[in-house]
């Protein structure tokens, strides 16, 4: 097993094929990241395609959260973080000095593992993003709220209590509210870090259905610990281990015939 783990990766640059002419939203070149002296991401090369769901899997501590948080530069909120390499979002290097991080994060929304609604009303939660980006028209804000909540499959449940505090919602409703909040600024990409890990099976199913619908309009990168979930919803899957991408491929083919024995070990539940 150990020998297996230490075996050098056969392919250092693994690019999933971009089938049917989809454009890439992200191109990641030689990304490295350190927390102080500990390297958490090692030489990552990946392309992430438009209007697809890309699943990120791997054992705990392998760097999945770190990876998706570099995509919207959330990692730089941690003072000890250092990065090297480049990430091109729509052909612009997001680490460029001239690239405004607020603009990136407006284009690239994020849904967290634990629902984190603001302690404000449901309505105020949804329109927070549009408001800070200068939309003041009340009618427009109301339309945005309705559209986003419908988009997150929450409208029917909350339409009569938009003025109530969001912290009174159930966990699953809160998570869908966070998705609605994210949709309200009409992003291009949505990053999701284990969006269903705090939820019951029914809420999980709802969110999975939702994610599958959302891919019509958005590109989604989703971290998950749940192999079935990755297999059910994603188009491509990246398998991370100790900060490296071991395998990145079409989900269907990776789950049916993994190329790397470590991938096979992980998805068949032999370790991790």
């Amino acid at each position: 097993m150990l020998a297996e783990l230490k075996k050098p990766a056969v392919e250092t640059r693994i690019h999933a094929q971009t089938a049917n002419n989809k454009r890439d939203v992200y191109q990641i070149d030689q990304l490295n990241l350190w927390y102080g002296a500990d390297q958490a991401l090692k030489n990552i090369d990946m392309k992430i395609a438009e209007n697809e769901i890309t699943a990120v899997i791997g054992p705990s501590g392998c760097g999945k959260s770190t990876f998706i948080q570099t995509l919207n530069r959330m990692t730089e909120l941690i003072p000890s973080v250092r990065t090297s390499g480049s990430i091109y979002y729509r052909s612009q290097n997001i680490f460029d000095k001239s690239f405004r991080v607020e603009q990136l994060r407006t284009k690239v929304g994020m849904v967290f593992q634990k629902p984190n609604p603001f302690p404000k009303s449901i309505f105020e939660n949804v329109v927070y993003g549009p408001k800070i980006h200068g939309i003041k028209d009340k009618r427009l804000l109301a339309d945005i709220a309705e559209k986003s909540l419908k988009g997150a499959a929450l409208w029917e449940e909350v339409k009569d209590r938009l003025k109530e505090n969001a912290t009174g919602l159930s966990g699953g409703q809160q998570q869908r509210l966070c998705i609605a909040r994210c949709l309200a600024v009409e992003p291009d990409v949505i990053l999701m870090d284990e969006p269903t890990s705090a939820l019951d099976p029914i809420s999980t199913l709802k969110i999975e259905e939702l994610v599958t619908e959302l891919k019509e309009k958005y590109s989604i990168v989703m971290v998950t610990h749940n192999m079935q979930q990755a297999a059910r919803v994603s188009d491509k899957t990246a398998f991370f281990l100790n900060g490296e991408v071991i395998e990145y491929d079409e989900t269907a083919r990776m789950f049916s015939s993994p190329r790397d024995s470590r991938t096979e070990g992980y998805i068949s539940g032999r370790f991790g």
Partner: protein
């Protein structure tokens, strides 16, 4: 290692358990000692309140409560003395108002800086300094007001008298900045990072995160810190006694001398008001008023932080 020779842990514990049987006496005794200490401190407080009330009642046998509340003159040492609390109340509230005008913006800004902008290291150095500032004896602030702030202000406002409301008001404000900053910072630090992350992830700038997410989320704690600060400003004694003068007046003029409730109590306590005279009892009536004000403030702070505490 040599388990054979030394007794096992289980044996040791059993042996000690037998010995611990003797401590039963202290086990029953100590709770009573604690209880007695608690009762003594509560009884002392009750005793003080009872004294306050009974002496206040004696005062109101000599002076009508209507005069106390309605008259706008406070001349306790005159031949035809007048006991209207309004001048003292005005002095107190004017000083407290000036103090809050200083303490709220500076305290809140410091809190936002410490909680949202400062690095861990800065926070760890600055917070203890704030707490040291809170420990400076107020008499020091009093002389700071009289000998430093007042002369500076007199340069700016030539008509400012040597004893005035403005200077002690500002200095009381300075004195309570650390309190506002520290308590507000506590409230803001208690806002979970996940909310900040949520806001950052929507493209907020640091200032937007601080003002639109963290401040509202910490609102109850921040307001409670303001209310406690007002209560502290109302009760502040030395600064206003030293730098505020002894001129009870119901008119609001921050450039001339005033007298606060606390300063009046000091004045009479230090003077030779004979026991049983009306001016002697008057300090209890003023003390009672002060007590009611600060009690209401503290209850309000308590209520606000309880009732409006955000659940995250």
């Amino acid at each position: 290692m040599n388990e054979q020779s030394s007794p096992s842990v289980r044996e040791r514990i059993e042996r000690n358990t037998k010995r611990r049987g003797m401590t039963k006496l202290t086990e029953t005794l100590m709770p009573n000692v604690f209880l007695i200490c608690a009762i003594i401190s509560i009884l002392t407080t009750i005793g003080i309140i009872i004294t306050l009330i009974s002496e206040t009642l004696s005062f109101f046998q000599a002076v009508s409560i209507i005069e106390f509340m309605m008259s706008s003159e406070w001349y306790p040492l005159h031949n035809d003395a007048s006991y209207g609390i309004r001048p003292l109340l005005t002095g107190t509230l004017v000083i407290a108002f000036i103090a809050m005008c200083i303490a709220i913006p500076f305290g809140l800004a410091s809190a936002i800086f410490l909680s949202e902008y400062a690095s861990d290291k800065t926070r760890r150095t600055v917070k203890p300094i704030l707490e040291v500032l809170a420990g400076v004896p107020t008499i020091v602030y009093g002389f700071f007001a009289l000998t430093f702030v007042t002369p500076i202000l007199q340069h700016l406002i030539p008509s400012l008298s040597i004893y005035n409301a403005l200077s002690p008001g500002i200095v009381v404000g300075i004195m309570i900045i650390p309190m506002v900053a520290s308590l507000s910072e506590d409230a803001m630090s208690a806002v979970p990072d996940s909310l900040r992350q949520g806001a950052f992830a929507l493209g907020s700038t640091r200032l937007e995160v601080a003002v639109k997410v963290v401040l509202p989320a910490a609102f109850s704690g921040i307001i409670a810190s303001f209310v406690l600060a007002v209560s502290r400003a109302i009760g502040e004694t030395m600064i206003v006694t030293v730098a505020g003068g002894a001129n009870p007046t119901a008119s609001i003029d921050i450039t001339s001398a005033v007298q606060t409730m606390t300063a009046y109590i000091v004045q009479i306590s230090l003077g030779d008001a004979g026991y049983g005279t009306t001016e002697y009892y008057s300090i209890y009536a003023v003390g009672m008023t002060l007590f009611i004000f600060t009690l209401i403030m503290n209850l309000l702070a308590h209520f606000i932080s309880k009732r409006f505490r955000e659940v995250y």
